[in-house]
């Protein structure tokens, strides 16, 4: 049946396509109705009973319908609709109408009338609801036509009083989506009264249904109101009271929607004043709403609790004393009165009316207090967060933590207060919550200074066995301020303990101490003698330089010494030696210091550090100047050009090493220039003048150069982030040149014509695609290789391969050096493998044939979308290589542009007799729009073993790490 239907529909389509050619499409379509949708028509006529008809319709619904035939189909459906007696079939037709009017390219305004007509004599409520849904779809498709909207809204008004909840629901939805919003616009045109009245109407009508007997309708009414708000209508403040009443509804979905509604209104009218029931005082609306929503944090339904907790976070205008109540569970009094009442209540509690349960027998009954001033739950804000953070469902807890974060970021005093609670959350039973609270604390840590006892609790978490938690905590410590030197000592002690317990945390701990030191130089100063265990009279033994704990202490001290010039005086001799060593080996952790008597040695460094940002500017200037200088080279064959390039490349490389800010840009330029240099060299080879058979050897170097340029261009394109399309075009241009070179070389060595012609074709295609890819960049390529090629394109297309090669050769040799424009922000993707370190002499032993897991820990910087691009390559000594794709879950994102890969790779091999190294490295996979054709490649590098075992479509981008492994034969 399905096939039949499909066939028929397709037949129709062919006819329909012809018709619009003639005239006004709408009318024509109507005329074509009987013929084109005949399939459906026939099917529906054939159907003897409603079940069968339903079956046909269901089948029909599975196929998409083209825009042109939609109207015809709809006519047929409507025709059948009027005849149909069974409501389920009518329901299906109604839903099909909705589906069909969603078809792209079909404008449903022509069926509005019909759809509305069907409503008028429909008896079944379900069908009615479905029809209204269809109208909703139609209305949504026609946002530009106010007349249709007006009609639909009228329809909605008319059916609002239906007895079936579904119909009322849909009507409210219609009103929400289509109700008139644009009052301010039409105000000028017509009388303000009428338009205002219209808008007013929608709101008051919707709000009438806030008290509907059916909870679903109440929800729909609230949702419709929210929809109006989203569409830009200003909700009236009267609604507030009604919404507040719905907060105590029996049904959770109503309460949830009401929370949203109250929130919206609190954002709209934060400053207006509302009275407090049962007293004659008034407060700001946002405070009132905050109190009410806080109340919902202890709702019976956890969905509502999540909603409420989330919402609280975005109510930033709330008054501070209300905010602070949310953290106080004991403060139960009605804070809405006056400040004095607040304080009085606090005293009441301090005097111990309620016991805290922390001390034994402090709840012994005391004299009765004036209970009127104490109110247990009336003011909802009390302890909202205490409740939220203790909630049974971790979703609520997370929402509460996030809300705390948002609020604390905008209010330092609140941040101070919520500290204790966040610290408590470090002890949550679910790791996600713990992690989240640590992150939150880090975010607000600019506002706070940790006291000793707080730091103590924070540091306790350092012993956590979860690496994520510990690292998040290190990150947190990097940003925290502490108040006393004891804190520093405590932190150092705990960090060393951590280091001792989890040696893998080494880098993270060091980094943490670096920041701790540079943040609190004055606090570290008094600790220095103790930390370095120096003694005024006695020489103490020199500590072991390889001890990570000692390095950690030194990192702390040196970083503090950077901004504390008096500190170096306290150092002993070996400390200076160790400084020199660490400054070299761990330069990212140890800052340059101005040390007495050693100035000349480190002059370069100290100048660097002192000049600060100025040096960046001068380096930038230098970079620009170098590029300018290079650009003077007009012709590749100019004498001295090569030298200039060579020097510039060397300069840029060094610059990149010295100025980390500019490393990306400098590297990028250097690589680009190197490509140019290679190209220049290749073209200057003498081989071009020699006879073909004589120059095989030279040919090899040129081929290798071409190959290398290709590789470099891929690196240029994919390894650097922040490229503009101009640079990408330049890179592609170089690649094109390299390919041209390859082609020429192939032509010279090989005489097989068929092969040559196919590679010529390919090359021309690439030129073409270059033009397609960078149409806007072409004007910048004046006088370049590609422009010249494009000029002669018609000729190239028609000529023979040999001739083409000749043209290419001349063009290539004549083309000048294309200037590189320095990109604004450019970063090189880098990867460092932290683990394995490659230093271990102990081979990893395992039984051959089985697998062994190797832990890999690497940091990646400036890598976009690492989940799909980063791969791990294992290279065995026998040349066998093996690429592993890490799981997306193994990537973490500790900071912007930074990723961390912690994964396990599985190794396996057959038995060896000796332990041997395998190499582990990271690869960056790319997919170029024009991937290098495999045929061309293998042809051109024929006979040459690949210099680097590159994997197709990947760039190796980390230093390989060697791991000693030893697969042993299985013992029997």
């Amino acid at each position: 049946m399905a096939a039949h239907l499909k066939k028929r529909v397709y037949e129709e389509f062919s006819k329909v396509v012809q018709i619009p050619h003639e005239e006004a499409p709408a009318k024509k379509l109507r005329l074509s109705k009987p013929s084109k949708s005949a399939a459906l028509h026939v099917d529906l006529c054939k159907a003897t009973n409603s079940t069968e008809a339903l079956q046909y319709l269901l089948q029909f619904a599975r196929k998409p319908v083209e825009a042109e035939s939609v109207e015809g189909v709809i006519r047929i459906l409507l025709e059948h609709y009027y005849k149909e007696t069974d409501s389920s079939v009518r329901l299906k037709i109604a839903s099909l109408l909705g589906l069909l009017s969603k078809t792209n390219g079909f404008s449903p305004d022509c069926i509005v009338d019909d759809a509305i007509n069907t409503l008028s004599n429909e008896k079944s409520h379900q069908v009615l609801a479905q029809l209204l849904d269809t109208l909703l779809v139609i209305g949504a498709q026609l946002p530009e036509s106010p007349a249709v909207r007006l009609r639909l809204v009228d329809v909605a008004y008319k059916h609002l009083s239906d007895t079936y909840f579904g119909v009322r629901n849909k009507c409210l939805q219609l009103l929400g989506c289509l109700g008139l919003v644009d009052t301010p616009l039409s105000k000028d045109g017509e009388g303000p009264g009428s338009s205002q009245g219209g808008a007013r109407d929608v709101q008051s009508i919707i709000s009438n249904y806030f008290a509907d007997q059916d909870p679903r309708v109440r929800t729909a009414a609230l949702k419709a109101m929210l929809q109006l708000h989203e569409r830009g209508m200003k909700i009236h403040q009267i609604i507030y009271e009604q919404a507040c009443r719905l907060l105590s509804d029996d049904y959770e979905q109503v309460r949830s929607a009401a929370v949203q509604m109250v929130w919206v209104l609190s954002q709209l009218y934060p400053e207006s004043i509302v009275p407090i029931p049962s007293s004659n005082e008034e407060i700001r609306l946002v405070d009132d709403a905050f109190g009410k929503i806080s109340h919902m944090v202890s709702d019976g339904s956890w969905m509502v609790r999540v909603q409420a907790a989330k919402t609280l976070g975005s109510m930033l205008q709330v008054s501070p004393h209300f905010l602070e109540q949310t953290l106080d569970k004991k403060l139960m009094s009605d804070l809405r009165r006056k400040r004095t009442a607040h304080e009085r209540a606090k005293e009441l509690f301090a005097s111990g009316e309620f016991s805290s349960g922390r001390k034994w027998a402090d709840d012994a009954p005391k004299e009765k207090l004036d209970t009127n001033t104490v109110n247990l739950i009336a003011s909802g804000a009390c302890g909202a967060f205490v409740h939220g953070l203790e909630d049974e469902m971790f979703e609520v807890r997370i929402a509460a933590v996030e809300a705390l974060c948002q609020l604390a970021r905008s209010s330092p005093s609140f941040a101070e207060k919520c500290l204790d609670f966040l610290v408590d959350m470090f002890n949550d039973e679910i790791e996600e919550v713990r992690l989240q609270s640590i992150h939150v604390l880090r975010e607000i840590s600019t506002h706070i200074t940790l006291r000793e006892d707080q730091l103590d609790t924070v540091l306790a978490v350092l012993e956590d066995s979860s690496r994520d938690i510990r690292e998040a905590l290190h990150e947190l410590l990097c940003y925290t301020n502490v108040s006393t030197k004891e804190c520093i000592q405590l932190a150092l002690l705990e960090l060393l303990k951590n280091l001792n317990k989890y040696p893998t945390d080494r880098n993270s701990v060091w980094k943490c101490l670096k920041f701790l030191g540079s943040r609190h130089p004055t606090l570290v100063l008094p600790l220095v003698p103790e930390l370095l265990s120096t003694h005024p009279y006695f020489d103490t033994p020199e500590p072991d330089m390889d001890d990570p704990a000692y390095i950690a202490v030194l990192v702390l001290v040196f970083n503090a010494a950077k901004s504390c010039p008096t500190m170096p005086a306290l150092f002993s001799d070996h400390t200076f030696r160790h400084y020199a060593y660490l400054r070299d080996s761990l330069s990212h952790l140890v800052p340059p210091l101005r040390l007495p008597g050693r100035k000349q040695v480190y002059s370069l460094d100290s100048v660097d550090s002192s000049s600060g940002s100025g040096s960046v500017e001068s380096a930038q200037l230098f970079l620009q100047q170098s590029l300018d200088r290079v650009s003077t080279i007009q012709n590749l064959e100019t004498p001295g050009a090569q030298d200039l390039l060579n020097f510039t490349i060397r300069d840029l490389r060094r610059l990149g090493e010295l100025q980390t800010e500019l490393a990306g840009a400098a590297d990028f330029c250097a690589t680009y220039l190197r490509c140019q240099l290679l190209l220049m060299k290749a073209l200057q080879e003498k081989l071009w003048n020699m006879a073909v058979p004589l120059c095989l050897k030279q040919n090899v170097t040129a081929t290798a150069a071409a190959q290398q340029i290709l590789e470099e261009t891929y690196k240029l394109e994919f390894l650097y982030s922040g490229l503009e399309s101009r640079q990408v075009a330049t890179i592609h241009h170089v690649r094109l040149q390299a390919k041209a070179l390859q082609l020429i070389l192939t032509a010279r060595t090989r005489q097989r014509l068929d092969l040559l012609s196919s590679s010529c074709e390919k090359f021309l295609q690439e030129v073409e695609s270059f033009r397609r890819l960078f149409p806007s960049e072409l004007p910048h390529f004046q006088d370049s290789f590609v422009e010249k090629l494009l000029d002669v394109m018609p000729r190239l297309l028609s000529c023979k391969p040999a001739e083409l090669v000749k043209i290419l050769q001349t063009t290539l040799r004549q083309s000048g050096l294309l200037q590189l424009r320095l990109p604004q922000q450019i970063h090189r993707a880098t990867a460092t493998i932290i683990e394995p370190t490659g230093e271990s002499d102990n081979p990893l032993r395992f039984t051959s044939g089985l697998v062994v897991a190797l832990d890999i820990d690497a940091t990646l910087e400036h890598v976009q979308d690492p989940q799909s691009t980063i791969k791990v390559q294992i290279l065995y000594p026998d040349g066998q290589s093996h690429v592993i794709h890490p799981k997306p879950g193994d990537f973490r994102k500790p900071g912007p542009n930074r990723h961390r890969l912690i994964t396990q790779v599985y190794l396996s091999h057959t038995a060896w007799t000796e332990p041997s190294h395998v190499e582990v490295r990271l690869l960056l996979a790319y997919s170029s729009s024009s991937p290098p054709s495999k045929l061309g490649w293998s042809d051109s590098i024929d006979g040459l073993p690949p210099t680097e075992p590159a994997v197709e479509g990947t760039i190796p981008f980390s230093k390989p790490v060697k791991v000693l492994i030893m697969p042993k034969p299985a013992r029997r």
Partner: protein, 601 residues
């Protein structure tokens, strides 16, 4: 007026021996059947003779409901069912049913085997008693009989603790048992829907306490234990075998796991192993974390916590020991305490309430020298810490539950009278509902105002709906006409025609007629017309017709005019209306009696 009567036999202004009788809608229900731990004589059990003097309890009680397995809630059950005699149904949740007999048996062993009491229930009695138990599931409505239905809600507190909603007709009572509104490490928080019962019977152990944040307590606890362990000290935690012990175990277990600690944790007593087994089984009754992670690992399968042996107490090095009983009054916990008390590095943490007179109570109150039996004294040098881990709702929790359930009356049990008084005041002030706190044996009577549901025939409903607006407004009552038929205990509202048909009665129409004399000089026809116009002016919105047969119809009221025989200017108006139009008819007659206004044409 129907009444609900509540009589506490135990737990009235008292903690322990929970046993509450409720009479509702002619049904008698016993809620909990506990014993008092403080007595060893007859006062230990509730006074069942209060219920019936000589006949069997079965005749009087419709069912017994046990909220959870603590002995002060179920300890007297075998005594009541087997020794006093009760054969009716006993309801409890599945975990309670599983764990309850273990505790009862343990209790029996201590009283009979150790203390040598006679006239106590036997193992067989416990078994027989458990046979009468019908298990309950959460949120499952169980029909005890045709009218009485009960439904259990989650209560936190201990594994399997439940609150029960008891309903007869439209009257209902909620009994909370013991409950906890803040979730802990192994159980969730109590929850109930807005069932609006007539009475909410709530425990009030912590009526005057608002506890600190739970995390704060946990952190303190862990920190204290951790510090003590790092110092190389030993930590003793006296606990009751079930409930808090498991929470603390999980707390320590996860902490050990997270922090990679190696010091051993021991748990004394064999009873716990059996109970732990049930904890593993009833995962659905625990909190979110345990429920979600049990597939990977059941949290109750402890890795770090091992069984304790007497000899371990002398082992060197740090350790943590959980030992029973919780108040240090006897048994293993006391033995260990004696061994460790002399070393100031050691620590004892009391996680719960201690009854006056126990060693636990003494050391918590700061006593540093204890007199032991045999005139020896014990110097207490070790650190003593108190940490409330009791899983009862605090004052705020009780208020929260009231807000959730929205009861019409409140009744407090299971708490000290003075504290209750305080909470009672708060509740009355806050919710403006009545709050009661009866003492043991004191009956509280609450009159209810139950709504009586009546079946209404659909045709009548539709007809009435058609008359009024399209939507019934739930907030406004509406009057309607119909006939109420009471037949065989059921009420039915039908239209009068149907009622007549059903009852086989003829329909009679009641019409009122009345004559009104009117002075009007005009002819009959004119008078009628004048009346017509007059009424037309006065009664706007009514259909008034002037019919050709010289009558005026106002709705269904007929007005005719005849001249009186004697005086043609005295007209006699004949008004006739049916019973349904009584209001309008009498209004018309009084209106016409006043005569017609002169200005009419």
């Amino acid at each position: 007026m129907p009444e609900i009567k509540v009589t506490p036999l135990g737990a009235g202004q008292d903690v322990g021996r929970s046993c509450i009788l409720v009479s509702i809608g002619g049904k008698n229900i016993m809620l909990d059947c506990g014993m008092h731990m403080g007595y060893n004589d007859d006062r230990r059990f509730p006074d069942f003779s209060y219920i019936v003097q000589n006949s069997r309890l079965t005749d009087f009680l419709d069912c017994v409901i046990i909220s959870h397995f603590h002995l002060d809630h179920c300890g007297a059950l075998p005594y009541m069912s087997e020794m006093v005699g009760y054969d009716g149904p006993i309801y409890m949740t599945h975990p309670t049913k599983a764990i309850c007999p273990i505790l009862l048996e343990d209790f029996r062993k201590i009283t009979v085997d150790k203390k040598g009491e006679t006239n106590f229930f036997t193992s067989q009695m416990i078994k027989d008693c458990m046979k009468k138990v019908i298990p309950l599931n959460l949120h499952q409505t169980v029909q005890v009989d045709d009218e009485l239905e009960i439904k259990a809600y989650y209560a936190g507190h201990v594994l399997g603790a439940a609150m029960v909603h008891i309903k007869v007709g439209s009257e209902s009572v909620v009994y909370t048992g013991d409950y906890n509104m803040t979730p802990d490490r192994h159980l969730g928080a109590a929850w109930i829907d807005k069932c609006r019962p007539d009475i909410l019977i709530s425990e009030s152990t912590y009526a005057t306490t608002i506890r600190d944040s739970k995390r704060c307590r946990e952190r303190d606890f862990l920190k204290k234990v951790h510090e003590s362990i790092e110092r190389g000290g030993k930590v003793l935690i006296p606990v009751f075998a079930l409930g808090r012990a498991q929470e603390l175990c999980i707390l320590l277990e996860t902490f050990w796991e997270r922090m990679n600690l190696k010091a051993p944790i021991y748990f004394s007593t064999g009873l716990t192993e059996k109970a732990n087994h049930y904890y593993k089984l009833f995962i659905t009754w625990t909190n979110q974390k345990i429920r979600k992670t049990f597939v990977q690992r059941n949290m109750f399968e402890f890795k770090h916590i091992k069984a304790f042996d007497r000899s371990y107490a002398d082992n060197p090095g740090p350790m943590v020991v959980f030992a029973t009983p919780g108040m240090l009054h006897a048994g293993q916990s006391l033995q260990i305490f004696k061994k460790w008390a002399g070393n100031e590095k050691n620590m004892v943490i009391m996680p719960g309430y201690c009854v006056q007179g126990t060693i636990g109570h003494k050391i918590l109150n700061g006593q540093r020298k204890l007199e032991m039996e045999g005139r020896t004294t014990l110097d207490v040098k070790l650190q003593v810490e108190y940490m409330s881990f009791s899983a009862h709702a605090d004052a705020k929790g009780i208020m929260q539950l009231i807000r959730m359930a929205e009861p019409r009356n409140m009744l407090l049990v299971h708490g000290e009278a003075v504290k209750m008084e305080f909470l009672k005041g708060k509740i009355e002030q806050e919710f403006s509902i009545d709050c009661y706190m009866p003492a043991n044996g004191e009956t509280t009577t609450i009159t209810t105002n139950p709504s009586v549901p009546v079946d209404m025939s659909l045709s009548l409903l539709k007809r009435e709906m058609a008359l009024g607006g399209p939507l019934p407004d739930p907030k406004k009552p509406r009057t309607m006409h119909g006939t109420l038929i009471m037949k065989e205990n059921s009420l039915k509202l039908v239209s009068s025609e149907q009622a007549l048909k059903e009852l086989g009665l003829n329909e009679y129409q009641l019409r009122f007629t009345c004559r009104v004399q009117l002075q009007d000089p005009h002819s009959d026809v004119d008078t009628l017309h004048r009346i017509y116009t007059h009424l037309k002016n006065v009664l706007k919105g009514y259909t008034i017709q002037h019919l050709p047969d010289s009558t005026v119809m106002v709705e269904s009221i007929v007005i005719k005019v005849t001249s009186s025989a004697e005086d043609s200017s005295t007209k006699v108006l004949l008004l006739s209306w049916s019973y349904q139009d009584e209001d309008l008819g009498s209004y018309l007659s009084s209106l016409l009696k006043k005569g017609l206004p002169s200005g009419l044409c």
